[in-house]
């Protein structure tokens, strides 16, 4: 089966094209070992099946980004039969830069000249026939939105794929003398020599500049011959008008906060009933399983494993999906409308003080709802450095699942200043994120400078259909990739609480209780060195909601009664340090699984765990010992 790969700049309609070509027969995953998304699908044309691969959106092949490397390696090593280069006709010059690089490689390409429907409206005209002649490869006008030209494109691509044996004559540009000499010296195929000069040779900065200049000179020559302006107005005048208000004036700030607030509400408030529904269904499933398995005479431990181990595990996976779906629907609308880039533009001044990229703002805010969708939203960051730092910082944003812990402890001990204490905890998280962001940037990514150079695409009406498809894919990928680890962890904790067989669930004689006892001395400096606290924290690393419910189980009390027990057994001092610990100490299993999924390796998940456990412990100890030494609060009994 021949393989067709889609390649092009970001925002050129590649996804729409991919969906249009493959329908919904597609799979979403990651490129091995990296944070870049990989999509594959199938296209049927003239009775033949074609494998379609979507490459990451890139501006050139010579950048050092992960995206560029993935695309480059794929084209060079896996040699797809044909490359469809999607080009935004309304932004021809910059789009052709990648095209020129592909032509220089002698890649077998077909150019899809997309956004033809918008071209005329913006007062431009492109002579596709002329362009075809100048580039020496097929150029097919398309509109991925209306699906015009896609059949034609598929046909051309298939024809080109069949002529694969015919070696394409690589495009040969004339470079500055210094570059040409060097190319001769290297005695490599021309494009390889160029790649070496651009990226590896000593003095490659100067070569890179000279090479880029020559390429753009060629491009402008081409553009001059094929692009005609039919109206005497700037095609982007409307976008500029909107931007004067939205991106470049004071009014941009309130609008920005309004949008961020709306996305947050949409994701979490609209998700609430759906999450409730999902949980209700799991309850029903558990009841049903319990009844039918007892009837069938299934042994008790097995029934318990299914009913209180596996089903709640699956339930927690499912309860994340409505939020992820809604979030990505919203993000997709924002991206396609062009506002996402403006939001990053506005937030960047503030985020850069943390050593972060402007695009990190929205994922971090979402982290206050739930870290999982926040981390997934970090996908929108193009640069590996920024993406990973953002992912590592999101767990410091205090998610909603941590709130009940604060409510319980602050409500018991700090009734008069409850909201102040809780606000303080949120602020502590943000401050730590700020400090750690700078630290991570310095220690881990010293060689990769942070920069902000972001295209602001024209404002456009987003397509609901495209957004639904994209959101659906994200939610499905989450269930697929993170689901197993989350369910597995649920089963493991169930096992620990029930072994050895016959002990009361999660009692101090269970394995979990014994582990709690083992850990407790380590927690003593922080003021809460009891097995109950340790067990609550262990359960909390499953899901932060479980901290309070575990305390309920081990103290055999709920609601007001639990608060009373806590008031007797705890002190204001260790309650405060326990809240600090709960804020920081460990990303829950779902977050860990998501970090693994998004960064492509357990390494970063493990790093996040170790980092946060040590930092959480340290902070809790500092808080407790500070209180003890200064005698600020009652700390012991």
């Amino acid at each position: 089966m021949p393989t067709l790969a889609l390649v092009g700049n970001p925002n050129v309609g590649k996804t729409s094209m991919f969906n249009g070509l493959t329908g919904l027969r597609q799979q979403v995953g990651n490129w091995p070992g990296v944070t870049v998304e990989r999509k594959e699908g199938e296209l049927k044309v003239a009775g033949q099946k074609v494998n379609v691969v979507d490459l990451p959106g890139i501006y050139s092949l010579s950048a050092s980004s992960e995206d560029a490397r993935v695309a480059r390696d794929y084209i060079i090593n896996e040699k797809p039969d044909v490359l469809v280069n999607v080009v935004d006709a309304t932004n021809l010059a910059r789009n052709l830069y990648l095209t020129v690089q592909l032509l220089e490689m002698g890649a077998n390409i077909v150019v899809a000249l997309n956004f033809m429907d918008e071209l005329e409206k913006s007062g431009l005209k492109v002579d596709a026939v002329r362009l075809e002649k100048l580039l020496g490869v097929p150029v097919v006008p398309t509109s991925a939105k209306t699906k015009e030209g896609l059949k034609e494109l598929a046909k051309h691509a298939l024809t080109a794929a069949h002529c694969r044996g015919r070696r394409l004559q690589p495009l040969k540009l004339h470079y500055a003398d210094g570059v040409e000499e060097k190319i001769k010296e290297l005695a490599l195929p021309r494009w390889e020599a160029l790649k070496r000069l651009e990226t590896e040779e000593a003095g490659s900065d100067d070569y890179a500049a000279a090479i880029a200049q020559a390429r753009y000179r060629f491009i402008e020559d081409v553009v001059r011959q094929v692009l005609v302006q039919t109206q005497d107005k700037d095609p982007l005048s409307l976008t500029d008008k909107i931007d004067r208000l939205v991106a470049d004036s004071f009014w941009g700030i309130p609008l920005f906060f309004l949008v961020v607030w709306a996305v947050f509400q949409f994701t979490f408030k609209m998700g609430e009933p759906l999450v409730g529904l999902a949980q209700g269904l799991c309850g029903l499933a558990a009841d049903y399983a319990l009844r039918s398995m007892t009837e069938l005479g299934v042994p008790d431990p097995l029934v318990s494993l299914v009913v209180s181990g596996l089903i709640p595990g699956v339930g927690s996976v499912i309860s994340f999906t409505p939020n992820i779906f809604l979030l990505f629907f919203a993000i997709s609308l924002l991206e396609d409308s062009g506002y996402m880039a403006r939001a990053a533009h506005i937030a960047d001044r503030f985020m850069s003080s943390m050593g972060l990229h402007g695009k990190a703002f929205i994922p971090m805010v979402l982290g206050f709802g739930c870290n999982v969708p926040g981390i997934m939203a970090a996908r929108t960051l193009g640069n590996r450095r920024d993406r990973i730092i953002t992912i590592l910082l999101i767990p410091f944003m205090s998610c909603m699942a941590r709130l009940p812990i604060y409510v319980l402890f602050a409500g018991t001990f700090f009734r008069d200043s409850q909201s102040l204490v809780i606000l303080g905890l949120y602020a502590l998280g943000v401050v730590l994120a700020l400090l750690m962001g700078n630290l991570f940037g310095r220690l881990l990514f010293e060689s990769e400078p942070s920069y902000f150079i972001l295209e602001l695409p024209p404002y456009r009406f987003p397509s609901i259909r495209v957004s639904v498809i994209r959101a659906w894919q994200k939610a499905a990928a989450f269930v697929n990739k993170a689901g197993t680890s989350i369910t597995g962890a649920a089963a493991l904790v169930w096992l620990l609480s029930n072994l050895p067989w016959g002990v009361p669930y999660a009692s101090d004689s269970s394995v979990l209780g014994r582990i709690g006892r083992l850990i407790a001395p380590l927690l003593r400096p922080a003021g809460f060195g009891t097995w109950e606290a340790a067990a609550a924290l262990i359960f909390g690393s499953m899901a932060k909601e479980l901290v309070v419910s575990t305390l309920g189980i081990v103290y055999r009390a709920e609601g007001a009664a639990l608060s009373q027990v806590i008031a007797q057994r705890w002190t204001p001092g260790n309650a405060l340090s326990f809240m600090v610990m709960s804020l920081i100490y460990m990303p829950c299993v779902a977050v860990m699984a998501t970090i693994k999924k998004e960064t492509g390796s357990w390494k970063w998940a493990a790093f996040a765990a170790i980092c946060s456990v040590s930092l959480g412990w340290l902070m809790a100890v500092l808080v407790f010992q500070g209180i003890r030494l200064l005698g600020l609060l009652p700390y012991g009994r």
């Binding site: 050092s64 932004n91 402008e220 982007l236 001044r349 902000f452 024209p458």
Partner: protein, 114 residues
Amino acid sequence: MWGKHRFRRGQYGMSPARSAARSAHLLSLAELRPGERGRIVSLRAPGPVLRRLLEMGVLPGTEIAVKGVAPLGDPMVIAVKGYRLSIRKYDGSGVLVEPTGTDRILYTKDVSNS
């Protein structure tokens, strides 16, 4: 809040040749104001930033125009090669520009300019 002088120094170290060039009325991109346009004369930035600028078409000979500045004073929006780019002043401080005028009707067709 963001005095121009912060960028006047040039962030990536300035060679004597460049300081001389500056006296010939060259400005860094970060020093241009909304409405001002210019032609890029030279480019200096750390490797990855340089490559990013190049692939985005920010290179010597290219006409650019400043469209606006974000409400907090940074980054700025420029028009280049017929599209819009938001760029931190810090990252644009190594882009030397020869001012070519000030107007509000920016970018008609910079294609003919290089």
